[in-house]
Symmetry: C2
Subunit: 185 residues, 2 copies
DNA sequence: GAATTCATGTAACTTGTTACATGATTTA
DNA sequence: TAAATCATGTAACAAGTTACATGAATTC
C-alpha cells in the first residue's frame, strides 16, 4: 500500500516513466523505502488498470520510447486519502541485531569483523546523506518552502539514525572487547 | 534467510514448538524482527524436510499435542555458517517518513495528528523495552554472561532507536509548527 | 456464557527479489 | 570493443500477511 501511494506521490510531483521513478526513489526516499524495478512496473500496470494513472507514450528518437505516467483525478484522490489514513505499523528488520542475539559463541575477531563491515557501510550512507543536504538539489525540486523543509527533515532523520547506530556500535565494542581485538581498533 | 536462521537460533537455545517460537520472537527480537505464525510453520516444515530439524510429538494430556523441534547436526552447521556469513543488507521501510515526504499540503492539524499517534506508539514501545531490562528475565535464560550482555545490548539498541525517533519528532514539530497547533502540545 | 490461551495448521493473497530478454546510445 | 545507461518488460520464486478452521482448557 505504501509503495503504491509513494508512486502516486512521485507522479503527483512530476509525471514520469517507470524507469525514472526507480531513480527518484533511490535519490530521495531510498534510505527508508527500498524498491525494485519489477515492483514499480507491476504497480504502475495495476494503477493503470484501475485508472488511477494514465500513460502517454513519448517517442525517444534513437533512445527507447518512454511511457510517461500521470495521475488521474481518482489517483489524486487515492493519494490524498492515504496521506490522512493511519500509518501502517513500522516493522523493522535488522539483520545485524538478529545475528547479534545468537552470536555469543562466535569468536571475538569474527564478530568484530561483522560489526566493522556494518560500520563501514553506515559511514558510506552517512556521507551520502550529508552530500544530499549540501547539494541543495532539494530546494530546486520542492514546490514550496514547507516542502523543502520537510525533505531536509527526512534526510536529517537518516543522519540521526546513522549516528545512533554508530554510537551503539562503539558502545557494543567497548562492552564486548574491552581490550580491543586487534591493532587499530 | 534470516528468519530461517533465527528459528535455528532459537531452537539451539532450547527446543520447542512452533507456537511458542512465535512468543519467543515477540518477547526478544520482536523489536527488530517481526514474524507471523504462518511463516514459522512454513519454515519449520521446510527445515524438517531438509533434515535441519527433527520433531518429536509430545502428548499434552487434555491440552493439544505439541510438536517439539530440535536441531540436527546439519541444522547446527547451518546456524554456524549463517553467523559467520556476510549480513543481508539493512532495508528500512519507514511508513511515517514516506508519508512525510509527500505531506507538505496536508493541513498542520492533520499532520500533527499523524505525528502524535506515532509518538504515542513509540512511548509504549520504549516502556516495554525498559520493562524488559528491569525484569532481568534475560539473565536466567542466557547460557552465560557474554550472552546476557549481548541481549542487554540488543534491548539498549531498541531504546536508543526510540529516543532518536522521539527527538526527531520534537525537532520536526518545532520546525513545522513554530507556534504550536493546539493547546497542550 | 464469552473471551482468551494453547496448539496445530491450510489457503489465498500481496509484496519483494532475482534473473532474464531486448535493443539503441553513450562512455571508458 | 566492452561496459554502462536508458527504457521497456516478463517469469519464477521467496517472503510476508490475512483470514480461516479445529478443539480443549482456562479465565473473566
Amino acid at each position: 500500500m505504501s509503495l503504491r501511494a509513494a508512486i502516486l506521490g512521485f507522479l503527483d510531483l512530476d509525471p514520469t516513466s517507470g524507469y525514472s521513478l526507480k531513480q527518484r526513489f533511490e535519490g530521495s526516499v531510498g534510505s527508508f523505502w527500498s524498491v525494485t524495478q519489477s515492483q514499480i512496473y507491476r504497480e504502475l500496470h495495476a494503477l493503470e488498470r484501475e485508472k488511477k494513472v494514465v500513460a502517454k507514450r513519448e517517442a525517444g528518437d534513437g533512445a527507447p520510447d518512454r511511457k510517461v505516467y500521470a495521475l488521474t483525478k481518482a489517483g489524486r484522490e487515492e493519494l490524498q486519502a492515504w496521506l490522512r489514513a493511519p500509518l501502517e505499523p513500522l516493522q523493522l528488520r535488522h539483520p545485524l541485531l538478529l545475528k547479534f542475539v545468537f552470536a555469543a559463541d562466535v569468536p571475538p575477531e569474527e564478530l568484530d569483523a561483522v560489526l566493522s563491515r556494518y560500520e563501514a557501510s553506515l559511514e558510506v550512507t552517512r556521507a551520502e546523506y550529508r552530500g544530499r543536504l549540501l547539494a541543495k538539489e532539494i530546494f530546486s525540486l520542492a514546490r514550496n518552502k514547507r516542502e523543502a523543509a520537510m525533505w531536509v527533515l527526512s534526510i536529517e532523520h537518516g543522519l540521526a539514525w546513522c549516528d545512533t547506530e554508530l554510537e551503539w556500535l562503539k558502545k557494543t565494542r567497548k562492552a564486548l572487547f574491552p581490550g580491543g581485538t586487534r591493532a587499530g581498533r
